[in-house]
Symmetry: C2
Subunit: 83 residues, 2 copies
Amino acid sequence: MTTVRIFVTYKPSVFDPQGSTIKDALHTLGHNDVTNVQVGKFFDVTIDEQEEPVEEAVKKMADQLLVNFNMETYSYQVLEEAK
Amino acid sequence: MTTVRIFVTYKPSVFDPQGSTIKDALHTLGHNDVTNVQVGKFFDVTIDEQEEPVEEAVKKMADQLLVNFNMETYSYQVLEEAK
């Protein structure tokens, strides 16, 4: 059993209005040392008895469902490795 | 300069309809070995010249703005440490 955390964010070239708004709100709350906020989604996907390597499975899921490659990019990190 | 990634998810006791829907969609696409999907948000917060420890700053931001403690919980990870 493997749990993979897949991160999806806007590409750097795409404006992130939510991040910008949160940065402003943090300034209003006194966190003036915050210089940037970028918002994203993540998916913790638990895979049981996988036949293919994690990297390939994640790539397929991203391509087929999780990521809008026009505006978004993704990365991932394995949280729990198969035993 | 420090960049902190703050993860916000539903508490385990709160039903995650989006995760459930994505799991079903992944099954439909042939990823039958996926047993669970949990969805969350993350915030990459870049802090410049902070006066207080990162842990305290993150706790305040979570309390004041980022986390709805009724339904959500958070964790964080330092991506780039101060130099």
